[in-house]
Symmetry: C2
């Protein structure tokens, strides 16, 4: 049909027929069928963003960045929520695969996401990894600086006078959790500070054990005066546990963490954090992805590292003994 030509503004059409077609389209409420078009063009102009937790402000802010960037570049964005659940992630990957999206932006659940990513790679769907790396999988990525952020937080506590600092980490199956733990150990060593047995906690998947772990920590002969949590929700759970044990933050124990918490929708932000530029994660991720799709990217994988910023707030103070 000539109709197609007017819709796509392509080829030569006389203004007369052009107007006539436009009029008829309006009259019959014509809406082009994107699926039929994608089928023949072999491109959908559809991108997919998979985040691991829709309720975590870090990821919603990231999603807004991705959305804005996608719109700017003329792509639509499908949002998906993996829920930190490998099975849901798998399901979602299968969905986007059969939906024939042009590219995928995702924060993988963890190292075990490797299998899912391989599927994407095998179907030649371009993807960009956000925030977390997956060993064994080359790809474009946007990462935070876990080493630097952890160092900032640790230094902050040391500067306040803390010497006994414990670490509450996430699963070792997640790259950021590993890096933050390693950096914490390094930084403590650089300050000549000891890391007693029991100061290094690895939270289990659903954080079920945290209350017990915190209780054990405080029952030590030399309990810590500060706690560094590897992410925002971990810190939150820790503080709840501390409160239920009658401990006050920061009076009895300082708590600091990675990732912003509360700043957007709270009267009075409480937590001292190493904040990451979450919105930019989304924007840059989409740009990198679209570059790759449109083959404007170099052959080799690209990697961008976004630095964190320390926000000192009320959850950290000098140790009680000072």
């Amino acid at each position: 049909m000539t109709v197609s030509r007017v819709i796509n503004n392509t080829g030569r059409i006389s203004e007369a027929t052009r107007q006539r077609i436009l009029a008829i389209m309006k009259e019959m409420n014509y809406v082009p069928n994107a699926m039929a078009r994608s089928l023949v063009k072999q491109e959908s102009r559809l991108l997919s963003l998979l985040i691991p937790d829709l309720t975590n402000p870090f990821y919603t802010s990231l999603a807004r960045g991705a959305e804005d960037a996608a719109r700017d570049l003329g792509y639509r964005l499908l949002l998906g929520n993996g829920d930190e659940d490998l099975a849901k992630e798998k399901e979602y990957i299968e969905t986007v695969l059969s939906a024939r999206v042009d590219g995928v932006l995702l924060t993988p659940t963890g190292d075990q996401s490797l299998a899912h990513l391989k599927k994407l790679a095998k179907q030649r769907i371009p993807f960009v990894l956000l925030d977390r790396e997956v060993p064994g999988m080359g790809s474009d990525q946007i990462l935070g600086d876990s080493r630097e952020g952890t160092r900032m937080l640790t230094d902050h506590l040391v500067t306040l006078g803390h010497r006994r600092i414990a670490f509450l980490g996430g699963s070792r199956l997640v790259s950021t959790a590993r890096l933050r733990l390693a950096s914490f150990e390094e930084t403590m060593a650089a300050h000549g500070l000891a890391l007693p047995e029991g100061y290094l906690i690895e939270a289990d998947y659903r954080m079920k054990e945290i209350d017990r772990q915190i209780t054990a920590l405080l029952a030590m002969p030399e309990p810590p005066t500060a706690l560094l949590a590897a992410n925002n929700f971990l810190a939150l759970r820790a503080i709840r546990a501390l409160r239920s044990l009658g401990k006050r933050v920061p009076d009895d124990l300082s708590v600091v963490c990675f990732d912003e918490l509360e700043a957007g929708f709270v009267v009075d932000p409480f937590m001292t954090v190493a904040a990451q530029p979450s919105y930019d994660f989304g924007v840059m991720g989409i740009r990198m992805l679209v570059d790759r799709i449109q083959q404007k990217a170099p052959e080799s994988w690209r990697k961008v590292v976004l630095p964190p910023v320390l926000h000192v707030r009320k959850s950290s103070g000098p140790p009680a003994s000072l």
Copy 2:
């Protein structure tokens, strides 16, 4: 192809060929093309959820409910963020129209969304309205109880001893904002309490004016001792404004609001609220939508009203004069 039959598990196939096909599929990493299938089946098994603010916990919680319900019913869910922006909403509606989703779940930006909804109706795409009504548009809907919630909050303040209560409302182009204002006026009247000129504030679209409006409120000869905000972010902005004016909450002024705030990711929830069952909004919305799609619903529109729950916390207390 016989292939189609094994994929869809339909018709009679010998186990031998069945296995052979499965093997070949695996070998060549076959992934069915959902678009091609939708094209012929005239259904996509795709639902779309449009929320007005991705960063508002009310809507993210709602989205999780919708997601879970959609998965249960065998549908995929595309998330969209309208950003309280009529233009983005329009864009999104066009997108889902051309993507040929089977149904749409949405919280309209406001009364002006009517035009967008009419487009959906004209294309015979079933949709369910969440949280906000749109005058002139019949449809299935899941609503909160704005009257009851406002009454609860007002009664709470009156019981604490407040007599001078101001109201910070949202745009009158949004049904919930209108209802909450009306219910506030009614309830105050029922208590025999006066509503001086200036006690009723309508926040503008982007809340730019709030600081000035709050300043004016406090400069009145008889300033209020309590403030009822029509939603969570409005309350937040108000409290920020109050703080910058050196006022303390609840010591100098009590503040309460509609919608949950902070409870999920904060150490110590502060705000007294009339919380709505946001997750259930999503679940019930999807169920209602799927019923409609599968024509299990009655011809007439259905409407479900979900009651709010009062959570008394720290942002409200007796008036200073007591």
